[in-house]
Symmetry: C2
Subunit: 353 residues, 2 copies
């Protein structure tokens, strides 16, 4: 890693492509000047936008390609059609070949996941990658993973998720020994699926120095911020995340509707504008934009496809922090602290039997 | 069924027992006078409360027992310790023996589920029960199931859930041919787990007259009200439900905090009190209290354990509607409309192979 953090951006990714990616990079650079950019995509579309941001232009190189992955393309098709050629692949390849420290894309999640896994491969000791997001809570923020990279998990994969999520929490939340909970349908030991229960036993017995295992947590514990790291597999995690996003959006609309119905409400709204601004900021999904692919031999950040420049700049910020604090090294170190990179081998074999 | 609907209440269930159950029943009776009650539990605690509600008393019989299931007891232990003797079991048994049309409990969910399955058994053609809840949406209300009765599902079980949920939607939502979606991690056909995909093929091919299958839906579609019936298995459904409840609670607290910070906000709150009351009503979980156990040979309603009399009265209302509109008969009829009670047997066998 150079003293500058080198960021490869899939400039064509997301619903808006370069018109969000370029101003997003400019915003990110204002806050963290120790960055340089590799902008991967259609030069004819990137260059005019870059001309509007001289500070960014001075720190950017354009890597041209006409090929990009569309948002609704099947991952398998995207791979066949655009491997080696698309802006998404080339951004990942820049990480693989050492030209960049991190790749960031707002593109097609499935395609990014498939390409990142093939291009960068999983790190030693990890079978399958995970997607970790930051979740705003009553106490601040928590890390929730996996929110959609891998469907299903055996006990060992849950333990791997706990280790990787804790490493991320140390960096992003600044907690030395993060608290970890396994998402389940009840707090009593008897409940839930076998793999989750086995993972709970393994984490409890291991008493690993990198994390404090707190037991099972339920869906409502996520928003409470009961633990720093909430561990689940990708199917349930993705549904929990989107359900929460949907609920927040729905309540926002109900609130807007209520505040604009009738004169008294409108007057009340005028007086309380400051309060509503605070509320909007706290609920703003852009502030937590940027999910991290964990378990790969390289840092890859997924931005929400529909975000704007501010949201995209936050995804870049996550990428910056992840590289600066050497997330991959921390994960490798956590894994190495257990016998041959695995927690509680006896319990693990039991759980896998 | 008599012209009166006979309701057996587990008077000892929930965090508050008779002090919520009895006034809850009184409230329910005010709205729907065609009810009579079997109040199961400790007569010494029930009778004094009942004396305060003469109209209810006139329509109630007390069935005394000193035994009750505690809220944190393991289902297996509750069964061993209190089978045949507890207020929960005896309320269920009243349905089994035809003394009541519906049993309602705010008690321990796992114990209620275990006892109901053993006492009433599943209906012909259904292997495992499900718990269906009403979910407030931007468009009104939807039915979501399973929210925690059965962990995991094969393709046929998803199809059964779709049939049972549609029967409930016809009654509770008053929709002749409800729209149904399978909860998944993406709308593209390629995504998600095998069982969900197989169930999707079965539902599409069957084109059943009792429901309109709309394909996959994602977590944020629940709150949007994209479909009348959202189908998922109990692990994911329980986590989605609790995550949404947690998010709503968290946002409510943020809103309260914002509105009480600073003089301007407080003045604004005073003007907009009406709007906040509307908002509170729309967000009030008591209005959708009362989940229905589906797939049993008898009607059982689960009330939230922490609800108050108003919330409990709504659970009674759900029980009343369920019996009056003959939910069980409707489910049986839906199942009978398919070959031997199963949708698309060929596709089903394929999915089970």
């Amino acid at each position: 890693m150079s003293t500058q953090i080198r960021i490869a951006l899939d400039a064509m990714g997301g619903d808006h492509g370069p018109s969000v990616v370029i101003p997003g990079a400019a915003k990110a650079l204002e806050r963290r000047p120790e960055m340089e950019f590799l902008l991967v995509g259609d030069e004819a579309r990137i260059a005019p936008l870059l001309a509007q941001h001289p500070a960014l232009k001075a720190r950017s190189t354009i890597l041209h390609t006409n090929v990009s992955v569309s948002m609704d393309e099947k991952p398998s098709q995207a791979l066949r059609r655009t491997r080696r050629a698309s802006s998404m692949w080339m951004a990942l390849d820049a990480v693989k070949t050492g030209r960049a420290d991190v790749a960031i894309s707002a593109g097609n999640t499935g395609a990014l996941m498939a390409m990142a896994t093939i291009c960068l491969r999983t790190m030693a000791g990890i079978d399958r990658p995970a997607l970790a997001c930051m979740w705003p809570t009553a106490r601040g923020r928590s890390i929730v993973l996996d929110v959609g990279a891998t469907i299903g998990a055996d006990a060992q994969h849950y333990v791997d998720l706990a280790m990787m999520g804790s490493a991320m929490a140390r960096i992003v939340l600044g907690v030395a020994r993060p608290t970890v909970g396994l998402l389940n349908v009840g707090v009593e030991e008897i409940k839930g699926i076998e793999e989750v229960k086995a993972a709970g036993r393994m984490l409890r017995e291991a008493n690993h120095p990198a994390l404090q295992y707190q037991g099972f947590v339920e869906g409502d514990d996520i928003g409470k911020g009961t633990v720093d790291v909430v561990v689940t597999e990708g199917f349930t995690g993705n549904i929990a995340l989107k359900t929460a996003e949907g609920t927040a959006k729905q309540l926002g609309e109900v609130l807007r509707g209520a505040m604009s119905a009738g004169l008294m409400s409108k007057i009340g709204y005028l007086f309380a504008r400051g309060a509503f601004r605070t509320l909007r900021d706290k609920m703003d999904p852009r502030n937590v934009n940027g999910a991290v692919f964990l378990g790969l031999d390289g840092v890859v950040i997924k931005s929400h496809g529909g975000t704007d420049a501010l949201g995209f700049s936050n995804a870049i910020g996550i990428g910056f922090d992840t590289v600066r604090h050497q997330l991959l090294g921390q994960i490798r170190e956590s894994l190495a602290q257990s016998d041959d990179g695995r927690i509680a081998v006896t319990a693990g074999m039991d759980a896998r039997a």
